[in-house]
């Protein structure tokens, strides 16, 4: 760590990981509720648990992105952070507001929550993933604006690098698109457009820029490959992500009422959305093969390769499975969507945040070459347990989805099973998914344990070049 102010990333990472644990706990609750319908009812009904599970995911990823940014931008710009104090203040504001919101979901019924947060003044609540009270949404917007101000002031006074430019472009996009969450038209079809402008253009648009920038940064650090080479790849990847992702929004417009041409545009462009993810796989593996140094932090290298592969599989392949309109006609809103959602979020965004944590946290803890070998082995056990569990979760949900489509969607009306009858028929897959979920939790515990193992990797493990040399 070259700049003292980078250390402000630490609380963001720690809080992100705490929320991550919360997300998984609620994931397990939900998994059980799929098969034991009244589990924890009426204390935590399914809709509340689902809201907590998805909102925690979004919020902890935002904490992760912010932590990554506070760590990366000063080092890239070669200057101290503009205001570490502002970063700390915003951390506490965001952490307290986020916690209060989750507690609100859990302890107040949703309608009352809407009342006491004065949703009536500017109604924005009640939409999937955007359930946050309006006041929380405003808080998120203010925190992000303050964060962007801090980051841009830092970036502008220092060295301009492509990594910083791409990262900040992604973050500005994130902030701007968030504004659509405040627009809640009465017409449901119109509402869905704006809703997707946040949801889709985040995860299949600007977040890919953030992911690309973090991956590029970590690859520069752990491989020592020339910055120019990595930057060129980054440009091509983000260009492809935007070309395919923006019009690819059309795959959400198939059945919500817009003109028929979206069937074509959505299908064609989203069929190409796997391309940037495939290029990220090529990117990560090519750079690591051509490495000019063997960084002793092997765990971070594993995460970097893992995120590229899993993002390609989850976002690319599993997305493509049901993105063509004639296929989506049958698969829309089935467990196939859940399969895709789980692996895509884990592969692309959970793993990229864990990649930067794996690289940066040891350095912030005074271990410039990474954690001790034992800690890295434990961390890699966590990696494999979580990743393989997620593969199984995805496969079981895919099985559930295919059976669901077969029983409920394909047959002509009258012969098709009802929704609930179908659910009974696919419960075996849900049980299997639940078991895989428990293994994921075990993987998370193992991963957390790795943080408590003392010791650090030594300089001797570096074969060529110096791990902390300036690049």
């Amino acid at each position: 760590m070259k700049y003292e102010s980078q250390r402000v990333a630490m609380p963001y990472f720690i809080f992100a990981l705490i929320l991550f644990a919360g997300q998984i706990v609620f994931g397990l609750v939900l998994g059980l509720q799929y098969v034991v319908g009244d589990f924890l009812f009426p204390e935590i009904p399914f809709n509340v648990a689902r809201m907590v599970h998805t909102n925690l995911l979004i919020v902890w990823l935002l904490f992760g992105f912010m932590g990554a940014t506070y760590y990366m931008v000063p080092e890239e710009a070669q200057t101290e952070l503009y205001s570490p104090l502002l970063a700390w203040i915003l951390f506490w504001v965001f952490a307290v507001a986020g916690t209060l919101t989750i507690l609100g979901y859990l302890f107040v019924d949703y309608a009352t929550l809407a009342d006491i947060t004065m949703n009536k003044l500017l109604p924005t609540m009640g939409r999937e993933f955007l359930e946050q009270p309006t006041i929380t949404k405003i808080g998120i917007a203010l925190v992000v604006v303050g964060f962007l101000f801090n980051i841009m002031m830092t970036a502008l006074k220092g060295r301009k690098t492509v990594v910083n430019i791409v990262l900040i472009t992604g973050l500005i996009g994130l902030a701007v698109l968030w504004l659509f969450s405040f627009y809640n038209p009465g017409n449901l079809a119109t509402d869905k457009y704006f809703w997707w402008f946040v949801v889709h253009l985040w995860v299949e648009g600007v977040w890919e820029l953030i992911m690309g920038a973090i991956l590029a940064y970590v690859l520069i650090k752990i491989t020592g490959v020339d910055r120019e080479v990595i930057e060129k790849w980054l440009y091509v990847i983000i260009a492809m992500a935007l070309i395919t992702g923006i019009i690819g929004t059309g795959h959400h417009f198939f059945w919500i009422g817009p003109p028929e041409y979206w069937l074509w545009l959505g299908s064609i462009f989203s069929a190409l959305e796997p391309l940037p993810f495939f290029m990220m796989v090529l990117f990560a593996f090519t750079m690591i093969n051509r490495r000019k140094r063997n960084h002793p932090n092997k765990a971070a290298t594993l995460w970097a390769m893992g995120t590229a592969v899993m993002a390609f599989l989850g976002a690319g392949v599993w997305g493509f499975l049901h993105t063509l309109a004639p296929v989506n006609y049958y698969t829309h809103g089935t467990q196939l969507t859940a399969a895709h959602g789980h692996m895509a979020f884990y592969g692309a965004y959970v793993m990229i945040v864990l990649t930067i944590i794996s690289y940066a946290v040891p350095i912030m803890r005074g271990r410039p070459y990474g954690n001790s070998n034992t800690a890295q082995v434990v961390e890699m056990w966590g990696f494999w347990l979580m990743t393989i569990s997620m593969v199984f979760i995805t496969l079981f949900l895919t099985g559930a989805g295919i059976l669901q489509i077969w029983l409920q969607r394909i047959p002509e009306s009258g012969e098709a099973l009802s929704f609930m009858a179908t659910q009974d028929n696919i419960s075996l897959f849900y049980w299997a998914r639940m078991i895989a979920g428990c293994f994921f939790m075990a993987g998370l515990v193992v991963y957390f344990c790795s943080f408590f193992i003392k010791g650090q990797a030594s300089f001797d493990e570096e074969v060529r070049g110096a791990a902390i040399q300036d690049v």
Binding site: V229, Y261, W264, I268, T286
Partner: protein, 199 residues
């Protein structure tokens, strides 16, 4: 040379072997773009085979003459770009004016296309008219945007040549930009017969 093999997707060619002009990153981008257009062409073919009558009726409304003029404009611009690369490689003069002329000639295409859009739109045709016009408007407009980007690239190249940034020793930038322009041209050479003649 170093830029070309930077990405190391393939082994460095032996000396004397034919090399890809321009940067491999530009070629990855070009292939990705061609994949986008390729899938749209396949979509067009499938849609046409499902409903040939609509496609035939749609084609009747178009102006093949303007299409032909646009084709001639793009081919001429490509010729100028290719010869300007040749001139630069052999360190001869006349690189810059060829690039500027290519931009000017390609403007015949942009003006022609805008005229066509205005004309069709005023007659009541738009993206939602039928499947043929969906493809017509989307494909040609998507290509139109690529022509604009290509023109911007040609202008950047012309300015850089004017500033003396390119002296023929490193052809990477010039060849990459020219390759992109030829891709735009190539796509039109498929689009024109497909939409104006065969549909």
């Amino acid at each position: 040379m170093s830029d070309m093999t930077d990405l190391a997707l393939e082994p460095e060619p032996e000396s004397g072997a034919r090399q890809l002009p321009g940067d491999i990153a530009a070629w990855i981008f070009i292939f990705a773009e061609l994949a986008v257009f390729g899938i749209m062409f396949i979509g067009f073919a499938v849609a046409r085979s499902l409903d040939p009558a609509t496609f035939h009726a749609g084609r009747e409304v178009l102006h093949p003459l303007i299409g032909l003029l646009n084709t001639a404009a793009l081919i001429t611009a490509s010729y100028l770009v290719a010869t300007s690369v040749h001139q630069l490689r052999h360190r001869r003069s006349g690189v810059q004016w060829r690039l500027w002329l290519a931009v000017a000639v390609s403007c015949i295409y942009t003006v022609g296309k805008v005229y066509e859009y205005v004309n069709l739109y005023s007659q009541g045709y738009n993206l939602g008219t039928d499947t043929f016009f969906m493809f017509y408007f989307f494909l040609t407009f998507f290509h139109f945007m690529h022509v604009i980007l290509g023109q911007v690239i040609l202008i950047v190249l012309a300015v850089k040549v004017g500033n003396g940034d390119y002296d023929g020793s490193d052809m990477n930038g010039m060849e990459s930009g020219a390759s992109y322009w030829h891709m735009v041209d190539l796509v039109w050479l498929v689009l024109f017969p497909m939409i104006y003649v065969l549909a």
